[in-house]
């Protein structure tokens, strides 16, 4: 690709909307061309400026007003029976959940729900890939995040892909691994992630502190370093999860040293 081709695709590249096959061409070009590299940097900075905008919450009074109205409608709908009662109940529950979700459940609980949601959709990842380097590159070009993609293959746990997730209104990196038919989700939520201290039991494993927590039959292991909150969610047992957590920590430390 030449300069004008790159510049025409700059936005898609920085927005992470470019085909993986073209990303390498852009990056190759930017290694050689300082002008295009500077344009990419400027585009990224501009995006970051926009993303950094304060994210205000809806007024509490509005939330209460809407909740009251939805409940009233649900009661009326049941009375009229123009919809099966179960459909009304589902709709009301979903709308109420939608409004209450802004009350910020504990971060890890939220991540377990995401794990369950992803496990139930046809395409849980935005990028289906078994290539760790490709996945790391995808995050870097899409968000500027340096994501560590640990290698769990010695334990028979294989990378399946990645996506951008949102956790507590923060953009989070999500990695999906599979061990046979068992899924393992790895979340990295950049600090400052809201939600206070991690909920659960404190455990030590190979001289490091972790928090374990179970929800809806899923086990989680989470911890925080100076950059992010990390959480592993799976049906795998705690030994396997702690092993994976330790491995991620080591690879992360290695990466930051580089």
């Amino acid at each position: 690709m030449n300069c004008s081709e790159i510049q025409a695709r700059l936005a898609a590249y920085v927005d992470g909307e470019m085909a993986v096959s073209q990303i390498a061409a852009v990056e190759g070009h930017c290694l050689e061309c300082r002008h295009c590299a500077a344009l990419v940097r400027a585009e990224r900075e501009f995006r970051q400026l926009l993303r950094r905008q304060p994210r205000e919450a809806a007024p509490a009074e509005l939330r209460t007003r809407i909740l009251r109205q939805v409940r009233r409608e649900a009661a009326l709908a049941k009375g009229r029976r123009w919809l099966p009662a179960s459909a009304v109940a589902v709709a009301a529950a979903v709308v109420v959940a939608l409004l209450l979700s802004a009350r910020t459940p504990p971060l890890v609980a939220d991540l377990v729900d995401k794990h369950i949601a992803y496990a139930n959709v046809e395409r849980p990842t935005e990028l289906a890939s078994t290539d760790r380097r490709e996945v790391a590159e995808w995050f870097r070009s899409r968000t500027g995040l340096r994501v560590t993609v640990p290698d769990y293959s010695p334990s028979g746990i294989h990378l399946a892909g990645a996506r951008l997730a949102e956790a507590h209104e923060r953009q989070a990196a999500y990695l999906l691994y599979e061990k046979g038919r068992t899924l393992l989700s790895v979340f990295m939520v950049p600090l400052p992630a809201s939600g206070g201290t991690l909920r659960g039991d404190r455990v030590r494993y190979r001289d490091q502190e972790y928090v374990t927590y179970e929800r809806k039959g899923f086990r989680t292991v989470s911890w925080t370093d100076d950059q992010a909150v990390y959480a592993l969610v799976s049906m795998l047992d705690y030994d396997a999860l702690l092993e994976c957590a330790d491995r991620l920590r080591q690879e992360r430390a290695q990466q930051t040293r580089l």
Partner: protein, 174 residues
Amino acid sequence: MALVHLDALYRVAVRLARNRAEAEDIVQDAVLRAFRSFHRFDPGTNCRAWLFTILRNVFLNRVRTQGREVPEAEVGDFDQVEMAFDTDVDRNPEEQFLQTMLHGDVDRALTTLPLAFREAVLLVDIEGLTYREVAEVLECPIGTVMSRLSRGRRLLRRALERYAREHGYVKEDG
């Protein structure tokens, strides 16, 4: 399942309507409509895009009945202005002015954009939707999203540069 928060709907509504009281009415109306038409929501599709689509339609209906801002007409006018600008635009990769933005400048600049550009920038850059989701919300092809986004960002940059000049951060000759 519904991962869009009321907060996101509210933020978008405020920036579409440029008026808090009106934004509250729009959000309330949109949530009730979502509730009433929930049985028509296809669980295989994107809930976030679905909710933003309802919100936008509520907003556009109000605009139309009140005979105010009309998105399509505005785009046409700006197409020509932009063409004239494009020929002599020299992209400046340094853009130090970005570091000097004051709190509120981005919002102020955003509200000056014509609706068609404002909504594209808002959904992608502030709320983090993908091009595909935005195309769904705006009911237009992805190519149109990309071109509106690109023009919207350019207008936004220019407005921000203007503010930076007003604040005295960059020299007039820039």
